[in-house]
Symmetry: C2
Subunit: 304 residues, 2 copies
């Protein structure tokens, strides 16, 4: 297991972590500058932030600053109610794929979607099995497009508390079942030299830490022809947690045994970034973004 205590070379910042600062929300160019200024080598930006800053401009800034991406947030949201909404989903995922290519991301992260309309409080139905079937169908289609572009897809299982409205893939086992069914050879068609699969997973500690099968499923992810783990996200689970979405904790402030989890992930051969992703309405988004980044660096060295 790598020693993180001496430097922060393996720290990446998911740009949502400092996007909603009170008083002065940070636009993406400012976030990128602030990361580079601190020797943070990688980021994972969100599509709406990139759109606001401009895709070409963002790609140029990332390159000029010597940054790289640890992932691109996000594709997915595959569920639909009719053929028009299905087509809209597909079109949007193609745009996301192309943006990920332009930004030279290592993977497009997929938040797969759940009951159509639920996120807006108006679920079209209660058929979770149907939603899961549509997700499998959507990924099956997108992975073909992804292979053509040489851009791996990382299915991110979300915590079961998001099963209704954000993602109906809720365990690592379920995500790996999809990977093995839809990309059995772990085949990364575009670039024969890469060991990355076309379809893998993003392991976010916040979403999976509770899972009694976690250690076994992480090991399973590393057992195939290519390691399925394409990204590792960290933050912490607070007690109490006061909001289902925006009360994530800074590493070390909660109950997740992050070093143990990272040890399991690295035992698969994973040697990529540890990406900090914190949505924190009442705490970290209330602070100066520079203080948040400095804290991420310190906690990355001490608590991850």
């Amino acid at each position: 297991m790598r020693d993180f205590s001496q430097d922060h070379r393996w720290l990446s910042i998911n740009t949502a972590t400092v996007r909603k600062q009170r008083g002065e929300p940070w636009p993406l160019p400012k976030i990128l500058d602030a990361c580079a200024a601190r020797g943070i080598r990688a980021v994972s930006p969100w599509r709406d932030q990139v759109a606001a800053a401009g895709l070409a401009a963002t790609a140029a800034q990332v390159k000029a600053l010597g940054l790289e991406l640890s992932g691109y947030c996000r594709g997915g949201l595959f569920t639909y109610t009719d053929s028009a909404s299905q087509q809209a989903v597909r079109d949007d995922n193609l745009r996301a794929l192309d943006e990920a290519c332009t930004l030279d991301a290592p993977c497009l992260v997929l938040v797969v979607g759940a009951l159509p309309g639920a996120l807006a409080g108006r679920p079209a139905h209660r058929d979770l099995a149907l939603a899961r079937a549509q997700v499998a169908e959507g990924i099956a289609w997108l992975v073909g497009e992804a292979r053509q572009r040489g851009m791996p897809l990382a299915i991110e299982p979300l915590h079961p508390m998001y099963a209704a409205d954000r993602a109906c893939v809720n365990t690592l086992a379920q995500a790996l079942d999809l990977c093995e069914a839809l990309d059995p050879a772990a085949g990364y068609a575009a670039s024969g030299s890469s060991a990355r699969p076309a379809l893998g997973v993003a392991v976010d500690a916040y979403h999976v830490w509770w899972d009694p099968q976690l250690e076994a499923q992480i090991a399973r992810a590393g057992r195939g022809p290519a390691n399925r783990i394409l990204a590792l996200h960290v933050c912490d689970w607070l007690v109490p947690t006061t909001d289902l979405l925006e009360d994530r904790g800074m590493m070390g402030d909660g109950v997740i045994d992050l070093p143990r989890l990272r040890g399991w992930v690295e035992a698969t051969g994973y040697a990529g970034y540890s990406e900090v992703e914190i949505f924190s309405k009442a705490n970290w988004w209330q602070r100066d973004g520079g203080e948040v980044l400095d804290t991420c660096i310190e906690r990355h060295r001490r608590c991850v």
Copy 2:
């Protein structure tokens, strides 16, 4: 699958559903009277409510009203930090078992506990595997006591969002693994005539509805020498859910496909009560208890 649409003979009320009414919180004797007056045949009371009303008085009232219990809430909370706290846990569980016997409950429901101290916001450690080991050890001990008393234990897997502070048994698979390990013969020692196992599960729709393994695990529960399903709890998952603990929905107001779930449960041979348990700070606890009970009856017939 039983037809619930014509009457409410299989409705049970978990007494937490109407315990915190605004203005006039309902004590247990009033709840029992109000249920009996509506032809509700069963209840599942909480220990603190029984303690407030008196154990003997409650047993007498239940009998006089012709009610029965669908479960007794609750034992468990097995995790500890030292031998003194371990002993206190054991003593308390013995009292819970004896109360369940006095009340002639069909089972003692177990909410197994999680990281010690976490419920009070001061987790003693981050070792979820240790907590799970202590839970297994505690159940292994308690099931011996339960067998002597002829009182089955029902492990209730709680939603993963409670893994830190309330219960580190979070899936039906995990609960059934414990049942099979600790009560392999499904042996209900005290009463040879009963088909109930010494150790089973309480299936609460709110906690398990999201689980991709749900159908398969419910079937597994019915496959052994005795059906492990000792209780079925229903309410609904709202979108959005605004509180992790006290924003449960009335059946029909959320996204859980309750008839489908009940069908899976009844396919195991389960023929017991459907117990409504709703914690609802902002909605149902704000209404008159009689209105809540009437709504439970109507929704039980139409949505479960």
